[in-house]
């Protein structure tokens, strides 16, 4: 981090009145000052565009946009999910409806909640920035044994120009033993401002609990989106994280999952589609700490135009994590001559008796498939769109919320949702 950037962050911190605020905030700021933000010289940050940070005002936006946000501005509701909306990181009760499930407590988080997962690696430093500045957030506490498979939807709306203020979505999500929860988390923009969004999500899943977490990033075409998600799984816990990256000019997501309990299982399913001059970069680290845990990781990325789409999937198997079973399937598709795809599987294994498989490919569309479709009379544009869709389909199909999947399909492939409708006739 350049000295100028560090100084500006410190000034904005003081200007926000945070310097005399709570201790946790100050500690985060102090740690950030000592460690700095990553630069493109950092190994795991070379694909991300960090330059826009130079123009950001880090002071939190107020959550009171010039034009009021209405329900019509937001994505369509998903049945059985209770929506909680945040404008520039600040809870908007008028656009929210509480969950009827007594076992699920959702609180607006005016004061920072204690993190379940410490910010343990240098790659998580953007979470420090969030912790130093965020003024609100969602704290979700799920009682042990709660059944809430279709549960909560968080909608984070960015409305403010980065020069005026930043948006700090924050989620603290703790799931009690044996509970079953579905969480949707969306990030959108209203207006065409160049928003700066820095998001931090902290997840803990207690023993025998099962979580399906769907994240959709559809921020505006000029938005800068930084994101840090940490999760820790206890014994026999299951966590599925489905991430769909479509929006933003520059998006970076850093994920760190710790399989701390024996027989815990994580599924990371990531789709990233970039066009024009978008940059999408994901770094996903899974740490196998306990024995007999499983990881399934799938990535499907398409890069068109002059876009760059990168995915770095790293799995570390710690000493003692015997019986580890991890599978990686990372596939990138180049859909333009000026586009770039970077797909990188990494394995670090410090124990015996593990099964780790990985496959990574980056390539162009299959000419045989294209010719087959053309020979049936499909025009080139439709055929290409269909093949791109087909490339993503196996990972998108894992999204078990039909409306959400359909909304994503619609965004991805326009008229292709017609195929899904026809499918149901048979």
């Amino acid at each position: 981090m350049s000295a100028a950037l560090a100084t500006r962050i410190a000034e904005d911190f003081a200007a926000a009145g945070h310097a005399s605020g709570d201790l946790q905030r100050q500690r985060a700021m102090q740690a950030l000052t000592e460690r700095g933000l990553p630069t493109s010289r950092d190994e795991n940050w070379k694909y991300v565009n960090l330059r826009p940070l130079e123009k950001v005002r880090f002071t939190p936006a107020t959550g009171e946009p010039q034009a009021p946000v209405t329900a019509q501005d937001l994505p369509a509701l998903v049945a059985h999910y209770s929506r909680y909306t945040f404008i520039d990181g600040v809870f908007a009760p008028a656009l929210s409806a509480p969950t009827p499930n007594a076992g699920v407590l959702v609180k607006s988080m005016k004061v920072a909640a204690a993190r379940a997962n410490p910010i343990s690696t240098p790659d998580l430093r953007f979470a420090l920035l969030n912790e130093a500045f965020a003024t609100d957030g969602a704290q979700i506490l799920v009682e042990p044994g709660t059944d809430c498979k279709t549960c909560v939807e968080l909608v984070f709306v960015a409305t403010t120009e980065a020069k005026a203020g930043a948006s700090y979505p924050r989620v603290s999500f703790h799931v009690g033993a044996g509970a079953q929860v579905g969480l949707i988390e969306r990030h959108v923009s209203i207006g065409s401002d160049a928003n700066f969004i820095n998001c931090a999500v902290d997840v803990s899943v207690a023993r025998d609990a099962s979580v399906k977490h769907y994240r959709v990033q559809q921020t505006g075409a000029r938005a800068i989106w930084f994101d840090t998600l940490t999760a820790r799984l206890a014994e026999n816990a299951r966590y599925q994280l489905h991430s769909v990256n479509l929006g933003a000019l520059s998006a970076r997501s850093t994920v760190h999952v710790q399989l701390a309990g024996e027989r815990s299982e994580v599924g990371l399913f990531n789709v990233s589609v970039g066009g024009k001059n978008q940059v999408h970069d994901t770094f996903a680290l899974v740490e196998h700490i306990a024995p007999n845990a499983r990881t399934e990781q799938s990535f499907r990325g398409i890069s068109a135009g002059r876009a760059r789409v990168a995915f770095n999937g790293k799995i570390i198997v710690r000493k003692g994590a015997h019986g580890t079973d991890s599978r990686q399937s990372l596939r990138g598709l180049l859909a333009g001559t000026d586009a770039e795809i970077d797909v990188r599987p990494q394995l670090e294994i410090y124990t015996d008796d593990v099964r780790c498989s990985h496959g990574a490919t980056a390539g162009k569309l299959d000419d045989n498939m294209l010719f087959y479709l053309l020979s049936r009379g499909l025009d080139r544009e439709t055929a290409l769109r269909l093949l791109k869709w087909a490339f993503l389909e196996d990972v998108v199909a894992k999204i078990e919320v039909p409306e959400l999947r359909r909304q994503i399909e619609q965004s991805l492939a326009g008229q292709l949702n017609e195929a899904a409708a026809l499918k149901e006739l048979f």
Partner: protein, 249 residues
Amino acid sequence: MLKIENLHVAIGDNKVLNGLDLEIPTGEVHAIMGPNGSGKSTLAHVLAGRPGYEVTAGSVTYDGRDLLALEPEERAHEGVFLGFQYPVEIPGVNNVYLLKAALNAKRKHRGEPEVDAFEFLNLVREKMQLMKMDESFLSRGVNEGFSGGEKKRNEILQMLVLEPRLAVLDETDSGLDIDALKVVANGVNTLRSPEKSVVLVTHYQRLLDYVVPDHVHVLVRGKIARSGDRTLALELEKRGYDWVTEEAA
């Protein structure tokens, strides 16, 4: 309907077709036979417009138009259909979607409205029964995990739904057991009419027991070496290809 004159085609430096002449009148079924590597599949692909083949001389006229000037999708719109020897698997695109998109592309080209959903389903169901295909095939990915025989049936199903005027079937009989062969042959016979022509590219005469051709041509080293009626196919079955090859030399 189709007139091929002095057609020369190369794949890279390899000359595959060397002055092929062939005329297929409307309403006729012609079989193209020949040993491996004689250029049968190349001919089929060139007619459908597959990239990678260089036409170095000659012409192909379809309904009085220069077929080679058309893009593959335009050929399909004009009623040309290629049945693939190795149908391509496209996971993630389901069969019914492809069928509907293909049919609508053709209708759009003719200035007709999109097919009505129920009309379409009835049409597809009828053709599937003919091909003895289970309806579950429709919701599966295009040819995904299909057996060899299922893939070939799927090709013929597509052909029947699209009702081409010129069907070029590239070794549609290869890899089929006798029951599947009969089903496929029945499908081809259903298409047969005074307005439609069929080119059957095949290595064996077995298919011709069920789809009786009007003419049989033997391709040797990229040229028609001999033409005749269906008795030529029977003769080839008995004597093999060597004598035609030797004659051609």
